[in-house]
């Protein structure tokens, strides 16, 4: 599976969903969960299956206006690729 492209529309994979653990937002998947924090949470919350990678990067660049967009793009792509390998995200 290649990395997501600019026009990929990432989303949680089948059977993976958001939930709460106490006050914390978590993603539940078969046999496990991830406590997503900070940047990871920022990325994953934008993965609604509608926004493209390009739009996600633009939104984050605006949110963290001091960060380098190229760096954000790289973070988004490697994060999504790693979660796709775990079959938690599809794009």
């Amino acid at each position: 599976m290649p990395r997501p492209s600019e026009t990929s529309q990432p989303h949680l994979a089948s059977g993976c969903r958001w939930s709460m653990q106490g006050e914390k937002r978590v993603v539940l998947f078969p046999e496990g969960m991830i406590r997503v924090q900070d940047t990871g949470r920022g990325i994953l919350e934008l993965c609604d299956g509608l926004r493209t990678v390009q739009e996600i990067v633009a939104t984050l660049a605006e949110r963290y206006n001091k960060a380098d967009p190229a760096r954000i793009r790289e973070d988004v792509l490697s994060f999504l690729e790693a979660l796709q390998r775990k079959r938690i995200v599809d794009y």
Binding site: A13, S14, S19, Q21, V26, L28, P30, E31, M33, R85
Partner: protein
Amino acid sequence: MIPNPLALITEITHRCPLHCVYCSNPLQLVATKAELSTGEWVRVFQEASRLGVLHLHLTGGEPAARADLKDLIAGGHQTGLYTNLITSGMGLSEARLASLVQAGLDHIQLSFQDSREGPARWIAGAKGHAYKAVLAQTIRQFPIAFTVNLVVHRQNLDHIEEMIEFIEQLHPERVEIAHTQYYGWALRNRDALLPTPLQLEKCMRAVEAAQQRLAGRMCIDCVVSDYYARYPKACMGGWGRRLMLIDPYGRALPCHAAGVIPGMQFANIRERPLEWIWSESPAFQRFRGEDWMPEPCKSCERRREDFGGCRCQAFLIAGDAGVTDPVCYLSPDHHLIEVARSAAQSEVAPVSWSYRTSKG
């Protein structure tokens, strides 16, 4: 402060149309009429959710043997639990699957005995392989997570590659290649099931190659027989630490096999709140933490990683649930594992075995 449990494993029935020789259910199965009712199960799910549990695993026996499976899934889902059905697929049709998904099923874990019809029937003591293979295609059409579980052992490991290729055609996101664990019926049939060291080595190579080849398509998880490990497994993530199991009769156990340990009293959810059972019942406290540990565990730097291994295995192999798991190479009882392993070295495996039956 005792952390809350993260997962509740519920054996909703011991009824099963299959008779697998490696079943981890106890030799004495719970009768149908003693099973918890729908209402009792749903109440347990609600208590579990309040206690902080996130994952609900519905298993058996064959959970689909219960006519109220849809209501149980709905009950779990409505409390916010992530619902996982662990099934052989027997008793599931497309219409029934649709109703389970509608009720809130998140994940289905379908077990296969083999890639081939004949050997699968031989292991399960019943027909079903062809039915499951068709059912897998149906499952894949629903928007839920799909895992295939394959139990491996001496009798099927020689064609592990073929079995992985078979599973690949079913398109699950995940496959769990589970080396047989020796409890219940599997312990009774251990001499015919324990793999040879050569089989194990070939298996690990085949799994690694498949993991690389299928990266991004299928996650392959392989749990190796602890009989061949240097250290014991962290059974259930530690006694009374993460998981709780409820048997069909309502008894709460820290581990699937804990019922074999003599002298233990397991509280029943019909009589006690789940929270009390988790935090205060003597059975859950018995091997929690480190105070119970003997040497070599007590001073071992791995004691917080493997928690002394499995208490049930310590009892089943060494006759005492309070000693180090004999699979650990540091255990004074480790020679008992070596004896079992050397029995697996012989060229011809004995293949007369006991099928799982309600007669025990």
